[in-house]
Symmetry: C2
């Protein structure tokens, strides 16, 4: 019974990704790319390394994700004027529009996922899972206030 929570969370997250991908297939971006764009929207001008940390992929993986998103006209790389090794990342207007357009879909998905739950239960779910995430997080050095939590 004790692994249940790990199994359960993984199952549920996978179903979430699957539902997300099924609904946004025509937009041409995946759940992971969407994740990148959402984080980037809140951190315009971030470098690749820190963004890789945020979405928890390897820097090289992020580098290649950005290659594709830049080619698709959704992300722009600008040279960092203070460090010639680094790129600063920006969302293009097109990506903004895309995210806005997807907003309804993702809202509907969240609604569907929590169908039958009262507002209090939804709040409780988020609070409890949030505590589990907090327990599991390795990034203890990063103050909680710095972390992405709500309202994404």
């Amino acid at each position: 019974m004790s692994e249940t929570i790990g199994f359960l969370l993984n199952d549920t997250a996978r179903l979430f990704r699957r539902a997300f991908n099924a609904r946004t297939r025509d937009s041409g971006i995946t759940a992971l790319q969407w994740r990148l764009l959402v984080y980037l929207r809140r951190h315009q001008g971030i470098r690749q390394g820190p963004l890789a940390d945020l979405i928890e992929v390897e820097p090289i993986t992020l580098s290649r994700m950005v290659d594709r998103l830049a080619e698709a006209g959704l992300v722009e790389r600008r040279a960092d004027p203070t460090d010639r090794r680094a790129w600063l990342l920006y969302l293009t207007p097109r990506a903004d529009a895309l995210l806005d357009g997807m907003r309804r879909t993702t809202d509907a998905l969240a609604e569907e996922a929590t169908e039958g739950l009262s507002d209090a239960e939804r709040a409780q779910l988020i609070a409890l899972v949030g505590r589990v995430r907090c327990n599991l997080s390795r990034r203890d050095a990063i103050p909680e206030s710095e972390r992405e939590k709500e309202a994404i």
Copy 2:
């Protein structure tokens, strides 16, 4: 705020997998392989197709996972006497021992993940996430009683 639950679940599940993989690195199997073995333990003699459904990967992916696990001496393929196209899968004694040995680790991980939660809160967490999973599940045709839920 509405996507929070999707983000949160994915974050948490990822952290879970990461913690799992970090703790079981020396065992040589990944979280996904562990998942396969755990399901297989409860369904000895299952065919590849249904097991692929259970762990939600494509049949070809499962086929190759079984290739590797068979080579590692953890899973055994036996010909189905009633259908010469099919294989029946069995856990080897070695896999049983491996799972038993990992049990302590996974128990400890579940404990750590839910640290600070009361028994009531843990139960509530499981119940709420379980309802979300149920909402998201496409396999509506499969009666709930048939599905893997607890005690894994």
